[in-house]
């Protein structure tokens, strides 16, 4: 009977994990907003998470095996992709990475954009926390019936 409650809790947890991963990538982008040197050469390229819907049973096959069709849809970070947009070009002749014309290629990170993304990730995380708490409360209320 409580199968669906457990599955909704694991879905909420998966949502929180995904949003945290998004937050981590945002932090990475902001931290590297001025990095002109990377391991693969050239300035830092903005990174972005891609979410994907998965069937809940794929995420927790052993514990939450479900009978019947139409289970819950969980979420997962399927990929972290690089932003293909061009680099920012800043005129700074004294910069060690400036080219012959004094142009420095800076990462294609827009800090404002990252801030907005961070806020959105935080809100979505909170929404998942709320749904997790709701499931937990429903479960506890059911348990209270046994007293």
């Amino acid at each position: 009977m409580s199968d669906s409650l457990f599955s909704s809790m694991s879905v909420a947890a998966a949502g929180m994990t995904a949003q945290r991963a998004r937050m981590d990538v945002v932090a990475e982008n902001i931290a590297n907003a001025e990095s002109t040197r990377t391991a693969e050469g050239g300035p830092y390229r903005r990174r972005q998470v891609v979410f994907r819907t998965i069937a809940e049973k794929d995420a927790f096959p052993a514990i939450f095996a479900r009978a019947g069709q139409g289970g819950s849809h969980s979420v997962q970070v399927s990929d972290v992709v690089r932003d293909p947009r061009p680099f920012r070009e800043v005129y700074d002749p004294v910069h060690p990475d400036a080219d012959a014309n004094g142009i420095v290629r800076m990462p294609n990170v827009n800090t404002i954009e990252e801030m907005v993304d961070m806020q959105a990730a935080g809100r979505s995380f909170e929404a998942n926390v709320t749904s997790l708490e709701a499931s937990k409360r429903m479960f506890l209320k059911s348990l209270e019936m046994l007293r």
Partner: protein
Amino acid sequence: MGEHNFGFFDHGFSRLEATLQSRERMQAVHSSNIANADTPNYRADGRTFDDYLNARLNGSAMPLATSQAGHMQLESVSRHEPEWRSGGDVQRADGNTVDLQKEMARMSENQLMHELSLRMIRGRINILTNAIKEGSR
């Protein structure tokens, strides 16, 4: 428990049980939609409490009249889980149709109704407990 038609655990009681289970299923639906609120091209799960309750209560539906060879019986359909269907038409730029505010509101409503069903079951159980206690005096 749907088979009990007599005495204390009658139709009403099993209906309450079906209500509870449907409410729990709905919680899973809301959780999925909220978790996928940022997934591109995710179509919101629009299954409702009615769908689940009907599927549970009408598990033993009346047979359909068939007049031609190709007609299907309902039984094979009605025992299944409610079909996944898309809810909400508001398209965002990323093709996602989840309305987070609506999901949260429906989730709260679902919780309150779950609590109500629990209290009704509790009331019924209390009646039984009282009868047992008073009988021993």
